[in-house]
């Protein structure tokens, strides 16, 4: 039986249930690299040029940790999911970059998704991917259909049942998603709702974001993430804020940000990687709208390997204090 390795990085967070279903339907076994640790990060960073963004370094680290544990590594390339939107160039070169910097890696399974080339081409590409496992096109079709269904189920868990991505992932795959155990003392503060914006690979990688979501929950905050918002709503707010979307994952930042500004959360936190071109443009757009609107506090945290944990925590604490004191004051006025 072939074992397919999947790096726990970048697109993993959004699509893993779909990939797993697909490969398992074709009789393969799937292994995922363990959660990010400092070792993953240093390993990845040591192999690429210094100005590579943090998530890409993490990705390389994860591929390295899969060496020897699988027969091939699956690295899909998502070029475009909607007509005339483009993905960050880092994604487009992933398979080639991996071959270059992780020469010891087993063969890489690729598929390129570009909706601009038409559905027919997409089906052909899926079939080509499936042919590594079977010659029977019907089996590939069946696997693809099941995979698509599990993606829909996964998404529904998030936006209908409001599960945070790792919980939804656990529920659908039955695999534990937590790397660290951290029991946090909860604080006595008024409950708040915090909207998070950013790419899934930043929001849910606890190592690189210093357990952001848990820390927020420790402050009794209800965390709302982009995946919990229905697609049509965030699409509409992208159009409102930015005109037409240009980036493939613009919804996660601009769309969710715009929606949070309108729906009235207590605060919005944006997470981006240092040196990320697309994000700096998108975060800035949300920031400008938040400043203009004046009612919703917004903070953007920039992550890189050298970000000091204390700095991030200080900012987070100050942000939550700001919201709490604001609430207390607001309530005092109402009474």
């Amino acid at each position: 039986m072939t074992t397919v390795g999947i790096p726990r990085a970048l697109l993993y967070y959004q699509y893993y249930p779909m990939w797993k279903t697909f490969f398992e339907h074709l009789g393969a076994e799937v292994v995922v690299s363990p959660p990010t640790t400092r070792k993953t990060l240093t390993e990845g960073a040591s192999r690429v040029v210094a100005d590579t963004c943090l998530p890409a370094k993490v990705f390389v680290g994860h591929t390295v940790s899969l060496v020897g544990k699988c027969d091939c590594i699956f690295i899909p390339v998502i070029r475009s999911l909607k007509s005339k939107t483009y993905n960050c160039s880092k994604f487009l070169g992933l398979p080639d970059m991996t071959r270059a910097v992780v020469p010891e890696a087993p063969p890489i399974l690729e598929i390129e998704i570009d909706i601009n080339r038409g559905k027919r081409r997409l089906y052909q590409d899926i079939y080509k991917l499936g042919r590594h496992f079977t010659w029977n096109p019907l089996k590939v079709k069946e696997a693809a259909t099941a995979a698509w269904q599990s993606l829909l189920d996964y998404r529904e868990l998030m936006y209908r049942r409001e599960l945070i991505l790792p919980q939804a992932m656990e529920e659908i795959t039955g695999e534990s998603q937590t790397g660290l155990n951290m029991i946090l003392k909860s604080q006595t503060v008024p409950p708040t709702t915090i909207g998070l914006i950013g790419h899934a690979y930043l929001l849910y990688d606890e190592h690189i974001n210093y357990q952001l979501i848990r820390r927020l929950q420790q402050y009794d905050a209800t965390v709302v993430t982009p995946e919990m918002l229905p697609g049509n709503i965030i699409e509409a707010s992208v159009n409102k804020l930015a005109g037409k979307a240009y980036w493939t994952y613009e919804e996660e930042v601009v769309g969710a940000g715009g929606h949070f500004l309108e729906s009235g959360v207590d605060g919005i936190i944006g997470i981006m990687a240092f040196g990320c071109g697309p994000d700096s443009l998108m975060m800035d757009m949300v920031h400008r709208h938040a400043t203009r609107q004046k009612t919703t506090p917004f903070m953007c945290l920039t992550l890189e390997e050298h970000t000091s944990e204390t700095g991030v925590i200080t900012r987070l604490e100050a942000f939550m204090d700001m919201i709490h004191r604001r609430k207390q004051k607001g309530e005092a006025v109402c009474v």
Partner: protein, 330 residues
């Protein structure tokens, strides 16, 4: 006398402030941290003790600053608060209508935007030191003068020289260049102050609305030339509170008071005698998982008081009695 104590341990300086029951400042101390926060806190406790009446009764104590957790363990803090919040609380206490708080310390700088008595936005420098006190310290060192002298001489400048001060390295080479071209030292010095202010406004202040009244606090506010540069650059009055250098500690004391009043609690303060206890701070690399965290611990007479710095809470839970069995993963 009932009082609340605030302790602010930053990377460069350590500040303590004591407020009485009506939140009046009774005494304060300001000393260098010199990379030894524990010693600095103990020395600070000793110094402030000397200034106080015998009957002082500490009702609440809070710590702040980058070493706030460590300081909290030593003094027995009732509250541990980040420095952005404590600085804002102090500024609002003295200037209820403040709209902008500029705070520049030795290693970091912050900007806090306040509207209607509530903090609505803030920013903090990330990696770049060009908008902090260390930028000037560095240049003063190069010119072989004290920071006081630098400030005095810069103040007399009439025609400042523009120094390209985007970062410390560039500023330095540009300064050397300007010296060689024969500009007056005063004008170069003031040019440096202006560069710091521009850096601050361009980094920390980027995209923020700096409305008056503007309060300028933190150690760098001692430097009159920087104050002047801010006034000129912002074209408005910039207020420097009398106790600008201990505002973080004052804010901490105010919050300790608030906390104790609302919760009616009994202070955890360990007493001024703590300044005589021998603490031992150390760190080790945890090998229990690939994260290899650098865990810091503080102990007293072989008893571990606290540990932190791990990515998980394993070390915070391991009590000192379990220490031996866990020796192998250290």
């Amino acid at each position: 006398m009932k009082a609340c104590l605030g302790v602010d341990v930053g990377s460069v300086t350590t500040k303590l402030a004591l407020l009485d029951e009506s939140d009046e400042l009774v005494s304060h101390v300001y000393l260098l941290t010199q990379g030894r926060p524990i010693d600095a806190v103990q020395q600070g406790l000793r110094d402030i003790r000397k200034q106080l009446p015998q009957d002082v009764d500490i009702n609440g104590v809070a710590t702040t600053g980058s070493a706030r957790y460590l300081a909290g363990v030593i003094v027995g803090a009732d509250l541990v608060k980040n420095e952005i919040t404590t600085h804002a609380v102090a500024a609002l206490h003295y200037y209820p209508d403040v709209q902008t708080i500029i705070e520049i310390g030795g290693q970091d700088s912050k900007l806090t935007v306040v509207r209607d008595g509530i903090v609505i936005d803030f920013a903090m420098n990330t990696v770049c030191a060009a908008g902090t006190g260390s930028f000037l310290d560095h240049q003063a060192l190069r010119l072989d003068m004290s920071i006081q002298e630098l400030s005095q001489r810069a103040l007399t400048s009439q025609t400042p020289v523009r120094i390209a001060g985007r970062c410390t390295v560039f500023a330095e080479s540009d300064m050397v260049h300007k010296q060689q071209m024969g500009y007056r030292v005063e004008d170069i010095l003031y040019g440096l102050c202006q560069a710091l202010v521009r850096n601050y406004l361009g980094n920390v202040g980027l995209g923020k609305e700096l409305e008056p009244p503007i309060i300028f606090q933190g150690g760098v506010a001692f430097n009159q030339a920087i104050v002047r540069a801010f006034r000129e650059e912002l074209d408005t009055e910039v207020i420097v509170p009398i106790h600008h250098e201990v505002m973080g500690a004052i804010g901490a004391a105010l919050m300790a008071h608030e906390e104790m009043a609302t919760n009616n609690g009994i202070s955890q303060f360990k007493g001024f005698e703590q300044s005589e206890v021998k603490y031992h701070a150390s760190s080790f690399e945890c090998k229990a998982c690939p994260n290899r965290c650098e865990v810091a611990e503080i102990s007293q007479d072989g008893q571990t008081l606290a540990r932190w710095g791990g990515r998980c809470d394993m070390w915070e839970r391991v009590s000192s009695t379990q220490l031996y069995s866990s020796e192998e993963i250290k």
